[in-house]
């Protein structure tokens, strides 16, 4: 069974705050689901390669030059309109180093 401390650790990794009762319910739900997926431990995977592509038929990597494409002024305006916080036309975020 997944421990309460593990659930707290995962929540921290996922940047989620859980109240005491939510933590308990999450622990219960995850324990149930992890118990259910445990059946995978019985699968014989000794002779199989991992899935690298969803279809897997002679797929080739797709690459392109890493060149910036100009966006229209309209697009830029619309993207900026959605900034939660801005200053002088720039996206404003809180300091990382304080």
């Amino acid at each position: 069974m997944i421990s309460k401390e593990e659930v707290e650790h995962i929540a921290k990794l996922a940047r989620l705050e859980l109240t005491e009762s939510e933590l308990k319910k999450m622990q219960n739900d995850l324990a149930g689901i992890l118990d259910y997926v445990d059946v995978l431990q019985k699968a014989d995977i000794s002779k199989v390669k991992t899935t690298e592509h969803s279809v897997g038929l002679n797929m080739e990597n797709v690459t392109r030059e890493d060149e910036p494409k100009p966006a229209t002024a309209e697009t830029i305006k619309k993207i900026k309109e959605q900034f939660p916080d801005k200053q002088d036309g720039h996206l404003k975020v809180k300091g990382i180093l304080n």
Binding site: I10, L16, V48
Partner: protein, 472 residues
Amino acid sequence: MSQFLNLTIEKIHKGLTGKKFSAQELTQHYLDTIQEKDKDIGAFLHITEKMALEQADVVDKAIANKEEISKMSAVPYAVKDAIMVKDVPCTAGSKILENYTAVYDATCIDKLKTKGAICLGKTNLDEFAMGSSTEHSAYKTTKNPHDLTRVPGGSSGGSAASVAANECIFSLGSDTGGSIRQPASFCGVVGLKPTYGAVSRYGLIAFASSLDQIGPFASNVEDCEIVFNAIKGIDKNDSTSVELKQENSKFDIKKVKIGIPKEYFAEGIDKEVKEVVEGMIEKAEKNGAKIEEVSLPHSKYALPCYYIVATSEASANLARFDGIKYGLSVKGKDLIDEYFKTKTQGFGDEVKRRIMLGSFCLSSGYYDAYYSRAQKVRALIRQDFEKVFKKVDFLFTPVSPFPAFKLGEKMDDPLRMYLADIYTISVNLAGLPALSMPAGKVGKLPVGLQIIGNHFTESKILQAGKFIETIL
């Protein structure tokens, strides 16, 4: 009004070019229908009335100018609210994107716009497409048009219900583990989950990138095919997209071999659902199809495998919703506090549960036991299908083990909810195409038949579907 009854894409085209009705009249009819019916059904989150009528005007002018119009001109459709339509809100059913407006068109929408189809609005879904009943939407409950006390299925429940309620001619959804096929089955409409990569995912808000696929809902197989052909194709904006070869082989039921995977008819399936699907298989056999029992021995691993792969990918995909560039942004004492507050307020319970599970499966010390193992089991599941498709052309299976269930019935138990997708999930893990189409009813509730084909055999599957429609 009778000229708008039982419309299809073909009939609309004839009606417009034959001047039986205008694009304005047609669009207004569908907007009125939504106005009237959606109070009860709740399929739509946003209605794009102004945009729709403007587009209708463009089509009418083209007709007045004697320009040739495409087959899809003025055909009214609805879009799952996880697919971007420029200048229209796109919430993914989540509070975290409540104030978000799409700044570009998804590739599939761009293609439909070019062909003149008319978007009527955006439809309800489980938050970030995570769910099987559309009840996990942060906005509203969508009801099954066949029984308003029941769910429409999910996660594309709004898209399925809008077609079933004749609020549009077709709709778009996305299918990560059954999210097109299962609601199509519950609502008695046709839904196609294309081969992975057949339709560009550019402009679809990602849930699980190796499983997600956009596809159409329609009231009949032909319309479904027309829409699929309109939206498919390689796209430079989605490096996983591929070009499908056009197949024009003639369909002859007498030359068709249908595999029946025994694992899909074993324990857990409702007796009545099983009878409907088996009845359909018998009819196909009477018409000359060869029926063969086959085995997909790793089927029992599909659902657990899916829940590890899908949640792992989701936990990575949803990390981007952090309140910095768009969407909900909750102030905190420092940057990391803002991340915590935004995500905690913005995401609903099911999304949090899946992010937690995915983060766990990818976390240090557990990666090998969970994610890495699941990706290998996934290869076993795909091999099952590879072997079977050496012997048969299609697999006929149920879509879901039960018909539409009651609203609220499975909300407290995530594992019971997940079982609604037990017959659809393997198809996503193997990247295969599959059609869900009405096969009969249990009482007043529709039951779907799933036709699974090998990779890139959509045209064959659709031909088989059209044949099945004739013997229903």
